[in-house]
Symmetry: D2
Subunit: 354 residues, 4 copies
């Protein structure tokens, strides 16, 4: 039976995320009632304050780990809860496990936002929404009575391939269920038995690219998958297929992708780029067969608020001596292979919202 | 037990649809094997030939009913299978029923295409895909690190209202199932008990418009619902809601809709217009808060081929003395209220595909 | 838009069902508010009263049709709503259709009750619940540590065959969905395309019996399927299979079934018998490999109350000029083939509830 | 990308499970191809042989832990895979974690078997299958034409309460999905947010017992929940409710349960007992309102074979440096609270299979 938790000390230093961005009023209130919150401001916690606060602290909520070595100082630390979607490369996951410190990632908070966006991009691409809207505004659209020269197709019933099948893939599979697609996945970090249990058929990367009508690139960036989708592999994609790039540009040879899409070899919906902001003269900006999105898949108010909710839920569990279940627990085998790739930086000066 | 069907005579005159457009090779072969096909060409059947062929004919496959009175001549006619999505107003449905002639509509063949498109439009609108793509091409997009001034939101978990809940609504409900939305429907042709059994909560139109974050307008055009969504009603829609117009413009006060969307009162995704092609100077073309589509929801190769498949399936059933189940059987109460509205006409001269 | 219905006259004569058995207080109240109810008592309506009441009557709610010819007297009759699960053979369905009179069956009210029971029987049989309970009471059970000589198996993942795929089959398919079974169906009244759309693979009867681990006999009794499952066909069933007989004994050669189950050829769960009450000395009563149920699949309070709810819903629709959608509308092709088989009669004198 | 695994040494000592009982031919073959298997026989491995084999061993597959202290000897040990459904109390889970040794339980292999059985028991109890079968054999059944004195009810649409919501509960929730029940759960080891995400509403134990029509007792036995369902709590259960006891008798006051069921206070389906084999004169054996099963919920050939499949899958993952995902990884917080309760022992002499 759960004991009433004592009011333990928790360091909350989520910058670059804002406190109000991730914590709803309800969650901020729960946090304050359950814990003695240290810091909790919208700027980075000074390292000396952090150092002073660490002894006796049950958990740290942070955006990464910029605080130096943990051991010897963090006598009561049980968990590090990161508010990003990846695994901070600065942490030594095996050491954390050895000392009974769980490292948690907010990836689950983004899974539904990114999966919804991946589906939205796939539909927009295959049903040609963006180009048709452009034509309507230019007055060049055609109202037709037959489908002879239509260049659109359904997601319904098509073969779909997932490159990487983690949090996002599992959620996207759920969204795709009513579409009766044939689902395949390539993920070298997962066994075939696991994939089958999750409702997708394991397949090799070559076969996946050659046979899928929709290819969802969802793999987390790792030390092993830089430009995994090389030019040679990208060239295997079917002429009328749609590639949705929703995790990180790290995973593809972006120059090759750009050329192939510009050449009309297949369609693509792209949310992430090798450098962001993307250079104004990058040729992908002119690709008529592409749907382009400025890294928006996970960035929604709903997803950010979900981070805060999951953080408080898991802090609550940890304080009660229970395992956390709402954020994702680092597995040293995988977390240590994660690499941080180019992510969002400051806006280009003068850029205007649309 | 099914008897082997004799090879009965069937008139196939689907023009304005093309034979190859609706019948796959497999279905064309099935049709030819099961029946003696009369006409079956890509132009309208001359009326005198029709007249001559009618006696002894089991069924007519056509795009409407331009053949004059039925009775007295169609001694063995058991079914009229129309290849459009509505009910030809030229037919007397009560008379057909009285004479044991079933009238069938191809609406079910379009339901999945239109429902998929309705979801695609809703996602494109709420996740702001079209405007962001436009910004990427103009170089005015912003790569952000927080969501503070983002103007996007999820479909996930929102309240959704269906105006009209027929074939398309039922299919869209299935697509929306993984999104855990709160589903409401307004449909005066259906009882509350039926709607609840179908998994949506019946609701009044005013409440639906006032409380839904997504409003899907899916009602078939009838003699009762012209401009059902009047200016007054449209003004009830929430500031941050998305209206998806996917059935017919007939159902809304399109001038009011245009003004409200131009004024930024809510967002809209629009596939159908009061006249098509839409006038080049129609102000809706400039609405930045809209996603515009030139009547493409049902017009896919997959949907058209589904018509042919369902036609052959049901001809097969009818020849075996079984009830048809793949097309929709006219209910006189409702079919007779259907009106034909502006639909696709010839392309504007000089219009260019995009 | 629906007009407020006038308060039309409806004859309600559901005997052998009781008024309170089928109408909840809420539904009885709705009925009284919406209609001028004629009769509405727990005994059969005298024929002369019926005769006198018929002119001006909108609809008749009855358990069959014992009132003689309809036409000429039923000037305003639009619907006959039967409170049983089948189609009264006394009615001429083609004539009814010709005169615009819909005949409705309460079969949908029983579908969930029967489908739930069919699943319950299948599970009880394959997991050996009844025999193990008997052993526990006799003190002859064995508590084991391995499964070597266990004679039980899962429904999960097995191949399932439906003999007949109507209301009950469709509902049972939904119940079976989480069990990831391979679903096959044999139904000569349905086309393969329809079955596939409903999520089951059409198959021949021989193949179905030879390959299914669970065989659900759900076919309505018709003039075409008496003893459809003959001795020869029953002998095709696998040694370790379970046959669930849930619709009517009419469909099987019951003597052959009895012998095969007594001989241990396969297992069976049986809810219906050639004559009911079943003779006390019928050998099936001693079959240890059977689960026996005294015709209880559809007979639940919930199902009976659902009849009343659906009756009022559809009367309401009909009065509003809308098609009924909660009961099942007779299709003349099929309704006329239905036969009434031995059903429940009076209890054996002296029989005691258990 | 996965590296080809080297052929590492694995000790396989699953006794009391048999090798052939848990490993299908296919899995036995996979095991032999992937690993150098040490022991692998149907009797307990002698401790000195174990001791000698431990250095260099990657993983141990066993039914518990009877090998004494681990550390210092198991230099390359990465995982202990237990073939039972619980957590061996002999292991120090915190120490294992500190040394990077994952402890895995075969609980997931049993989840579907037990959940299927729990549903089977619930249906058998509410639809009264066992008592009606008994009546059919005694000739005391009644064939009825109305439901007035029927004592059966549906699972469909009822309120269901889970006491404990782990592997089995999650699977049972899936089976119950088509039944449209209102699902509540009490589990002090899980937060409300987690339960809601899993599709059940968290609730207190008192409210759960007072309001549920079906109560599923699925909690693992722990140091905290002995006789959790005390007499006082059991007395809260509704008069017409069904209690399904499927995890361990440890969790209930079995004497009180027996008395209440004998007194007809509610119904129960019971698979587990305080001591097994159950005493021949235990009064529960005579409870007519109970369905009794001799600890059969998890004991199926399919479940046992699933153990072996999952063991090989996870050994494969571990050898490749990947996290195991098919068995359940011990969380020290919870695994250490598990207690071993009376489980299956040798059959009573002279007991005969039924």
């Amino acid at each position: 039976m759960a004991l009433a938790p004592e009011r333990r000390k928790v360091i909350v230093d989520p910058f670059f995320r804002g406190m109000g961005e991730i914590f709803s009023d309800v969650d901020a209130e729960r946090l304050a009632q359950l814990f003695e919150v240290v810091w909790g401001r919208d700027e980075p916690m000074p390292l000396d304050e952090f150092e002073a606060a660490l002894p006796g602290t049950l958990a740290v909520v942070s955006s990464g780990w910029r605080y130096g070595p943990i051991l010897g100082r963090a006598d009561e630390l049980r968990a590090i809860l990161t508010v990003g979607g990846g695994w901070p490369p600065e942490l030594d996951y095996a050491q954390c496990e050895k000392h009974g410190i769980r490292v948690l990632s907010a990836a689950p908070a983004f899974a539904r936002a990114v999966a919804e966006m991946a589906l939205a991009l796939a539909l927009a691409c295959s049903r040609n929404l963006v180009a048709e809207d452009r034509a309507m505004r230019a007055g060049t659209e055609r109202f037709l009575s037959n489908a002879d020269d239509l260049d659109t197709f359904h997601v319904l019933g098509k073969r779909v391939g997932f490159v990487g099948f983690g949090n996002i893939g599992r959620q996207l599979r759920r969204f795709l269920e009513p579409f009766a697609c044939e689902l395949r996945a390539y993920d070298p970090w997962l066994t075939g038995a696991y994939l089958r249990e999750e409702g997708v058929e394991p397949t090799g990367l070559v076969e996946l690219l050659e046979t899928s009508r929709f290819v969802f690139v969802l793999a987390s960036p790792s030390s092993e998958n830089e430009a995994l989708l090389s030019r040679d592999l990208l060239e295997l994609i079917q002429a009328d297929a749609v590639l949705v790039l929703a995790s990180r540009a790290h995973v593809v040879d972006f120059d090759a992708l750009t050329e192939l899409v510009l050449a009309g070899r297949f369609r693509a919906a792209i949310d992430v780029y090798p450098s962001e902001p993307l250079a104004l003269d990058h040729p992908i900006r002119g690709a008529s067969g592409a749907v382009l999105s400025p890294h928006r898949a996970g960035l929604t108010k709903e997803a950010l608020r979900e981070i805060g909710g999951r953080v408080v839920d898991d802090l609550d569990a940890i304080a009660k001596g229970l395992p956390p279940r709402r954020l994702q627990v680092a597995e040293p085998e995988l977390a240590s292979r994660y690499v941080r790739t180019t992510t969002v930086t400051t806006p280009r000066p003068g850029a205007v919202a649309t």
